[in-house]
Symmetry: C2
C-alpha cells in the first residue's frame, strides 16, 4: 500500500515530510498564497502552497472543492498569532511540496454545508451526505449500532440474520409488500423479525437481530419510512415484561455512555445534547394511568382512549423530563385488542397486556413486552383474531417442543438516531429513505 499519514495523526509528525490523501474541503486564493483545507476520514488540516513550490502552486490553483488529492507536505507549527485554538489542527499547517489530483470534481450545485430543504437534501444525497452535519449524524448511527451489539453480546445474546422474504403476512396487520417469487408464487417482505426471533429463543435463549423491515404504508410524514432498520432482541426464562424493561434500561444507559465517550464532537457539531437518564429505574405507568394523568392535568377527555395520540406522547415525555429528570418513560398495559396476537395478557389485569412502549423525547421508540409461550394459548389467540393457524405451522413448531416464558423488543434505528440528536424528521437520520414519493430519486421522474 502507498505511504499515507492520517490527518488526525499529523501532530506526531511535526517538522517532518508526510504524504496525505483526501478531499479539498475549501480552497482560498490569497494572491501569492493558495490555501487548501484538506479533509480525510480522520480530520481536516490547512495546507498552503508557497510560491517557491511552483508545480504545487499550479495544481493548487486548479483544484476546487471535492477534488480528491494526494499531497506530499511538510508539517509546520504555525506562528503563535496564526494559531486557531478552536480547530483540532489549528496549530499546524501543511507546506505543500507536491500535489497530485486523484479525481476531479464538477462545480458544486451548492455549498456542501449549506442549509437546504429536505427534498434538496435527499435529491442530492450522494453529495449532501458529505456535509459535516450528515457525516456527524451517521457516525452517531454507526456508534448506536456498536453500542447496541456490544451490550447484548456482553450479556450472552447471540446475533442472527432474520429472513426478509417471508411466506405470508404473519401478523395479519396488513401494510405488507408483495413480491413475485419464483415459479409464479407470491412472497412478502417481512414487517418484523418477530416470529423468527421467538423461534431462536428456543435455540439460544437470548438472541438479537439487526436488519431492514418493510411497511407498505401510504403515509408520508416526518415519522414514517417504508423501509427501516429494526434493532430486535428477544430472551427467555423471564418472569414477566418487567425483566424485559430492566434489560432495556441497562441497554439505553450503556448506549448513552457509549455515545458520550465516542461522539462528543458529533453532538457538538449538531448542537445536540445527550439524553437525561435517571440514576435508577425509568419512570413507568400503565396506559390508563397515563391517560388519567393527562386528563387531570390538561382537562382533555381522553381517559377511554385505547392508545396514545402523538400529542399525548409528547406531553408524557415533557412530564417525565420535568418530574423525573428523565428523557425516557415506559407506558405499560396496552389493551389486548391493540397488541399483536402473541402478546401476553396480564393474569392479574384481564384485558390488558404485559407489554410496553418506551417513549423518548416525544415519541415511541420501542415496543416490547412478554410474549405468549404456551402453544395452546397461542393457537387460541390466532383463531380469535381470524388468523389461519395453517399459515403458522412453522412458528408454532417452536412452541410444540417447549418454549420458556420470554419477551423482547423492537426499536427503529433511524427514529432512535433522530431523537438522540433532536432532529426534525426521521428522514434526516435515514441514509437512503424509501417513501411514497421516493426511492433515491427514482419516483420523482
Amino acid at each position: 500500500m502507498q505511504d499515507r499519514t492520517n490527518i488526525g495523526d499529523l501532530h506526531d509528525h511535526i517538522d517532518t515530510e508526510v504524504t496525505v490523501a483526501g478531499y479539498v474541503d475549501v480552497r482560498r486564493d490569497h494572491g501569492k498564497l493558495i490555501f487548501l483545507d484538506i479533509r480525510d476520514r480522520t480530520g481536516i488540516v490547512q495546507g498552503v502552497a508557497l510560491p517557491n513550490h511552483e508545480e504545487a502552486v499550479a495544481i493548487a490553483g486548479e483544484v476546487r472543492s471535492e477534488f480528491a488529492i494526494r499531497a506530499k507536505a511538510k508539517v509546520n507549527v504555525r506562528p503563535e498569532k496564526m494559531v486557531n485554538k478552536d480547530q483540532p489542527n489549528g496549530d499546524i499547517e501543511l507546506e505543500l511540496l507536491e500535489l497530485q489530483v486523484l479525481a476531479r470534481a464538477e462545480e458544486l450545485p451548492f455549498e456542501k454545508d449549506a442549509e437546504v430543504n429536505l427534498d434538496t437534501l435527499l435529491d442530492n444525497r450522494p453529495f449532501t451526505l458529505r456535509s459535516e452535519r450528515m457525516r456527524a449524524i451517521f457516525k452517531v448511527q454507526h456508534e448506536i449500532l456498536q453500542a447496541y451489539r456490544t451490550f447484548l453480546i456482553s450479556n450472552g445474546f447471540v446475533e442472527f440474520e432474520a429472513p426478509k422474504i417471508v411466506g405470508g403476512d404473519a401478523e395479519g396487520g396488513g401494510n405488507i409488500f408483495r413480491l413475485e417469487y419464483l415459479k409464479d408464487k407470491w412472497a412478502y417482505l417481512a414487517t418484523s423479525p418477530q416470529l423468527y426471533k421467538q423461534i431462536m429463543v428456543g435455540v439460544y435463549e437470548r438472541v438479537f437481530s439487526i436488519g431492514n423491515v418493510f411497511r407498505a404504508e401510504l403515509h408520508s410524514t416526518s415519522r414514517h419510512l417504508n423501509e427501516y432498520t429494526s434493532l430486535d432482541a428477544e430472551f427467555g426464562f423471564i418472569e414477566d415484561h418487567t425483566d424485559v424493561m430492566e434489560v432495556q434500561v441497562e441497554l439505553m444507559r450503556n448506549m448513552v455512555s457509549h455515545l458520550k465517550e465516542t461522539c462528543s464532537t458529533e453532538f457538538a457539531t449538531l448542537n445536540a445534547s445527550l439524553p437525561l437518564v435517571p440514576v435508577d429505574e425509568f419512570p413507568h405507568m400503565k396506559l390508563r394511568e397515563a391517560l388519567q394523568l393527562i386528563a387531570d392535568e390538561t382537562g382533555e377527555d381522553c381517559v377511554n382512549e385505547p392508545d396514545l395520540a402523538p400529542e399525548h406522547e409528547r406531553w408524557l415525555c415533557e412530564y417525565a423530563n420535568k418530574k423525573y429528570a428523565s428523557d425516557f418513560i415506559f407506558i405499560t398495559h396496552y389493551p389486548v385488542a391493540k397488541r399483536p396476537f402473541y402478546t401476553y395478557e396480564d393474569e392479574g389485569d384481564k384485558g390488558y397486556t404485559k407489554s410496553y412502549d418506551l417513549l423518548f423525547r416525544g415519541v415511541e421508540i420501542t415496543t416490547g413486552g412478554q410474549r405468549i409461550h404456551d402453544h395452546d394459548m397461542l393457537l387460541k389467540r390466532l383463531e380469535e383474531r381470524g388468523l389461519d393457524p395453517d399459515n403458522f405451522t412453522f412458528y408454532l413448531m417452536a412452541f410444540k417442543y417447549g418454549m420458556p416464558p420470554h419477551g423482547g423488543w423492537g426499536m427503529g434505528l433511524e427514529r432512535l438516531t433522530e431523537k438522540m440528536l433532536d432532529l426534525d424528521n426521521v428522514k434526516e437520520a435515514t441514509l437512503f429513505p424509501r417513501e411514497i414519493n421516493r426511492i433515491d430519486t427514482k419516483l420523482n421522474n
Copy 2:
C-alpha cells in the same frame, strides 16, 4: 429478575443451593433414581431426583426432553468413580430439591441430535436448530460476524445500512425480484449493496455493510440461495486491487484467529478443522495462468475459458493447499466482459480487470477488486453495456463530485460459514433458507 445461576458457572457454587433454568435435554429413569440432563445457553449438567425429595421425583417422572424447567438444587461433587472427565460438568451433579415446569413439550418427532436428511432438517427447523450440531454452526456464524466487524472497525471503517428496496436492476444482470411498491409503481430487491457502498466511500472513505441480498435464480443446488447475507466492504485512496486483497488477507487471518479463540468447542463438535492460513501473503495468479496450469497438469483443454468452472475452483484449492499450505488462493484479472460495468480495467493488461475472486476450500467466497472512479469512464462503460445512464443519475452523482480510487469486496456469510466448517450444503449454514421450493415450509404445501 428471578434468581438464576448459569449452568456454565456451577463450579463457583459447589456445596451450595442454586436455582437453574433450562431445557430437559434427556431424562434417564433408573427405578429409584431419575436423572435429568439440564441445558441452558451456557452449558449442560446432570441433575438427579433422589427418593427423599418426593415432589421433585414426581415432577421429574413426568417431564420429557425439551420441557422448559426451573429447578432449585444443591451442587454436589460427584464421587471419584462417577466422574466423567470428558464433559465440562462431569465432576459435579445437581441434587434436585424443587422442580417447576415452565413449558411442556410434545413427544419429539425424532431425537433432537439424530442425523436426518436435508429436507427433514429444514422442514423441522424450529426444532432441529436446537441440536448440538446446529447450535454449533450458528454460534460460529455469530462469531464470524463479530470478527468481521471488529477487524473493520479497528481499521477505521464505518458501518452503514444499505437499502434493500431499489428502483431498478442496477447492474443489469437480471435475476432480480420485482415487488409491488406504492401507488402502482414497481420496485426491486437489491442484488448487492454495491452502488450504495461506493456512494458511501465518498462520505466516510472506508465503509462496510452487512445485510441480506436477493437473487431470483431458479437453481436449487448445494451452492445457491435466493436470499443470503452479504458481508460488504469498500474503501478509498487505494493504489489498485492489490490493496484490497491485502486488507482481505488481514481480515481472513484475524477471523481465523478469532474463531480459534472463541469456537474451539464448536469446531470439535462439528469435527471441523481451522483453515490453513499462510504466514505471509496468500497465493495468487491471473485467471489465464490458472487455466494454463490446469491444462498443463490435467491435460484439460480449458486455456481459453472466460471463467473458472466449479471443478477448476476445486482443483486450484487443492493445488494451493498442497503447494502453499494455504486453504486460500486469489485468482485475478478476469476478462472485462465477465465483470460488472464498474470494474476497473488494467491499463497494463488491456481487456482484463483489476478484480479478483478469493477461492477457499473449493469454492469462490469473495469477489472483489478496484472500481472505476472516473465519472466519464463510468458513463462510457454503462453505454457500452447497453445500460441507460438515466437509471444511474443518483449513483453517478457521487462521481461528479470527486471520487478517489477505491475498491472492495462482497462475501456471502452462509457460504463462508459452510466452508469454514466443511459442511456439504450452504443450506446447512443458513438459518431459514429461501429457495425455489422453500420459504420455511410454505412452498411445500
